[in-house]
């Protein structure tokens, strides 16, 4: 009985969405899509933004806004919204394709530092599912682990004890891994650790003052990772590993 009940709770969490003002949002979206198809990109963006104003989001919505900005030739905004879409849906083909095109049109071409193999594997899993999905997985594997612990503790025969012990060990590892993934994803999503440069040209400084030494120049549309922030300045890291300080208003968080 208890097991069945738990399963029900889990299923309900998967479809854990808010249905408030959904209908209104749908009509707005179809209106905006129409405007986009007619080439009225400004009004399409304005209408999509009305949906965002209702505190609703979806990767398709971000993707469409990104497309509208792209058509307006506003590459930085387009990349920002594609990245927002990618944050929710990592493996959507359209999002990745368009982001790739937009990235190929910006000024900066930064070589990515090669990653260590285990980090690559980790990121492979990391990109596979969204924060919610990983959380669900970690909860499910946690419950399965507890089940095996239960079976182990009440088992009479050696065989069952042995089997449940090894299976429990396996699920201990999976629940640790999925917990790690979901917590990382949660902090990454919540903290907005990545940002897009919105100033056409900006010089990264060695310290958070205007008089500091100029380190390197980056341009509009480049993605950076935010490491730290002080009064009006943020410490950023670009893909090739270089670190510098930028004025906070020169970038927009994803």
């Amino acid at each position: 009985m208890t097991r069945k009940y738990l399963l029900l709770i889990l299923i309900s969490t998967v479809s854990y969405t808010s249905f408030g003002s959904m209908y209104h949002a749908d009509t707005l979206i179809s209106k905006a899509n129409e405007a986009y198809n007619q080439g009225l990109y400004d009004s399409a963006i304005a209408t999509y933004s009305l949906v965002l104003d209702q505190n609703l989001e979806s990767y398709q919505l971000y993707y469409n806004i990104g497309n509208a900005y792209f058509k307006k030739n506003d590459l930085a905004s387009a990349i920002l919204f594609y990245e927002k879409a990618k944050k929710i849906a990592h493996n959507d083909e359209d999002v990745l394709f368009n982001l790739n095109i937009a990235n190929s049109m910006i000024v900066d071409k930064i070589e990515k530092v090669p990653e260590l193999f285990y980090k690559k594997w980790w990121n492979y899993f990391y990109d596979m599912f969204s924060e919610n999905m990983w959380t669900v997985f970690s909860v499910v594997s946690w419950i399965i682990l507890l089940l095996f612990i239960g079976i182990f503790s009440i088992a009479k025969t050696r065989k069952i004890k042995k089997l449940s012990f090894y299976l429990g060990l396996l699920f201990l590892f999976t629940s640790i891994a999925t917990f790690g993934l979901s917590s990382q994803k949660y902090y990454y999503t919540k903290e907005h650790k990545e940002a897009i440069i919105f100033t056409p040209t900006i010089t990264a400084k060695s310290s958070p003052t205007q008089s500091a030494v100029d380190l390197f120049v980056i341009h509009e549309g480049t993605k950076v990772r935010i490491m730290d922030k002080v009064q009006g300045w943020v410490k950023i890291k670009i893909l090739n590993g270089s670190i510098g300080w930028l004025p906070a208003e020169s970038l927009e968080r994803i």
């Binding site: 899509n33 609703l56 979806s58």
Partner: protein
């Protein structure tokens, strides 16, 4: 000579004409004309007016035949150039002339001399020194004026600028110093072909000017806003007659040679004339109603497109001829876009233009020949070719469209007759352009922002609750199990004891020869042992369940057999009378043996 030709009925007229209103210092002409060969002209009395030159005599004659009838005209004019020196009314007395010995008198000419305005007063030269006769050129003797057809045109609209020369004096060698450049305009010379100037005479302020168009340009403004048409400069030689008035003696010869007719004392003065710069304001083309195909054509145009072959076979050439003709900036018209299907091999259009620059402006036609070769068969649609222009007259855009062209391409003979099918006909997919993927439609998985399952209260509940449930479950299970196993354990431990007690009781009964009680007791000892040992309720006891229970515990088969045999023997002995003492001894031994062996086996 001419007088003899004059018919008797021809009336002799002798008239004098002069300007009626002049200003002080102004020079003007007084002309006397007689329509016959006049002689002995006597100059009139000019009073207060000063004669600068004259009388200058000129004659003209013409003979005309109209319908066989001959008409003649003859005229002789005597021209005086007069300068007014004083204000007031002056009546020039009649002049006389003799024709065929007869004396004719002209009318008197009235001239009113008024005060000159300030500006002109400054221009006045001291009396007796006129510039033209003195070899000094006056500003109004010769000048250039420019005329613009429209000072407020649209961007790209054709405007025509005409430069006219106004001259009172003979002018030669008129050359443009530099061909005019028009920054901000695209220009076209309209007088390239005809170098002859169109001449006319015009009276301005009572003075006769020769007017000629010297240059004409069509201008097309290329940017909007305020633009300046720069001045043009022209160089020319002006011929001025000289009068040596230093020695105005009474020498008759001198006077004779001073007569303008003989006056060969002509001075050539090189002078530069320039027109005034003109400021114009170029209007932006209206945004409203601007068609997509608009390419900057302004004027009045017509459009025609002809496709030579609507049904053709593959690898045959197809020509689409687009012709645009009309008035306006036709030279700037670019080739309209023709989108052939991608299976067509296309080439740059061949452009032929026939543009004429006439007096009235630039017009002509431009034709674009598009050549395409279909490489695949099928029915193809060529998107409509569109052309649009702005007509500044009605301030509207006009568009033309060729309409959708449908071309049927049949399989060419080359491919159909080919027997070998090679894979070389296959081609890679050609990417014609790159664009982002289209927007997503359909239902969006909208979800409220900032809501996460991780670290939410639901999440904590889902993590903690199963642990509590598990602990509770395991605890309950253990407790229950303990309770159940306790009863069983007691019974098992007691089983041997009870069996032993029963057997001791059976031994006593054997000695008292209580046969039935003995059998009961010994059977109870064996059955009860099994029931207690394996927790089997009494009702379920049978030979089979005993065998089964012992087999489950891996008891040896011969031990089970002897146990079951003992049970059977007890039952059998009970109902079989005979030597009771020996049977009871045997059975007793057998039962003890069975229980001991079973106990031995079960302990292992």
């Amino acid at each position: 000579m001419f007088s003899q030709l004059i018919k008797a009925d021809e009336e002799i007229r002798f008239t004098g004409v002069g300007k009626q209103l002049v200003k002080v210092g102004e020079r003007f002409r007084v002309v006397y004309e007689v329509n016959a060969d006049g002689k002995n002209f006597t100059s009139p009395n000019f009073g207060k007016l000063q004669v600068l030159s004259g009388p200058n005599t000129s004659t003209s004659s013409s003979v005309q035949y109209v319908n066989g009838k001959m008409t003649q005209s003859y005229s002789r004019t005597y021209t005086f150039i007069i300068q007014a020196t004083q204000e007031g009314d002056v009546t020039i007395s009649p002049a006389t002339v003799k024709v065929d010995g007869q004396k004719y008198t002209s009318n008197s000419v009235k001239v009113k001399v008024v005060k000159a305005s300030g500006a002109q007063q400054g221009n006045t030269k001291p009396s007796g020194q006129t510039s033209s006769s003195n070899g000094v050129l006056q500003d109004d003797d010769v000048y250039i004026k420019s005329y613009l057809s429209n000072k407020n045109p649209y961007l790209g609209e054709q405007i025509i600028i005409t430069y006219k020369i106004f001259t009172k004096v003979p002018v030669t060698n008129l050359t443009m110093q530099k061909s005019p450049s028009y920054p901000g305009f695209w220009s076209k010379n309209l007088m390239e072909d005809n170098n002859k100037f169109k001449q006319s005479t015009k009276i301005i302020d009572g003075e006769e000017y020769i007017v000629a168009d010297i240059a004409k340009y069509a201008l097309f403004p290329q940017k909007s806003g305020g633009l300046t048409i720069e001045s043009v400069e022209m160089e020319c030689n002006v011929q001025l007659r000289m009068q040596s008035n230093k020695r105005r003696s009474n020498d008759p010869f001198e006077n004779f040679f001073n007569d303008p007719f003989f006056n060969r004392n002509v001075k050539n003065i090189k002078t530069t004339l320039s027109s005034k710069p003109i400021k114009i304001n170029v209007k932006q083309l209206p945004q409203q109603g601007k068609p997509d195909s608009f390419n900057g054509a302004v004027g009045e145009f017509s459009f025609r497109s002809i496709i030579d072959n609507k049904i053709l076979s593959t690898n045959d050439a197809l020509t689409l001829d687009v012709k645009i003709s009309g008035k306006g900036n036709i030279e700037l018209v670019t080739a309209p876009e023709v989108r052939f299907p991608s299976d067509f091999e296309t080439y740059e259009p061949k452009i032929k233009s026939n543009i004429k620059s006439k007096y009235s402006g630039v017009s002509g036609s431009k034709s674009f020949e598009y050549l395409a070769i279909p490489r695949a068969s099928g029915e193809f649609k060529i998107a409509p070719v569109e052309f649009s222009y702005f007509n500044p007259k009605d301030k509207k855009y006009h568009s033309f469209s060729s309409g959708e062209l449908i071309v049927t391409v049949e399989k060419g003979s080359q491919t159909s007759s080919g027997i070998t099918y090679s894979s070389s006909a296959q081609e890679d997919i050609r990417f014609i352009g790159q664009d982002i993927h289209h927007i997503k439609t359909g239902s969006f998985d909208l979800k409220e922002t900032g809501i996460f399952l991780f670290a939410s209260s639901l999440y904590y509940m889902l993590v903690v609750l199963p642990v509590i449930l598990l602990i509770l479950f395991v605890f309950m299970w253990k407790k229950q199990e303990k309770r159940r196993s306790n009863v069983g354990l007691m019974k098992t431990r007691k089983a041997t004891k009870i069996a032993r007690a029963r057997l001791q009781k059976a031994e006593k009964l054997k000695k008292t020869d209580n046969e039935n009680a003995f059998y009961d007791e010994i059977a109870q000892a064996l059955w009860g042992y099994i029931a207690d040992k394996f927790n089997i309720p009494g009702a379920n006891l049978s030979v089979d369940t005993v065998r089964e229970a012992l087999q489950k515990k891996n008891v040896k088969a011969d031990v089970i057999d002897s146990f079951v045999n003992t049970l059977n023997n007890i039952d059998f002995a009970r109902f079989a009378p005979g030597d009771s003492g020996g049977k009871m001894d045997n059975l007793y031994e057998e039962a003890i043996n069975a229980i001991m062996q079973a106990e031995k086996e079960l302990r292992q």
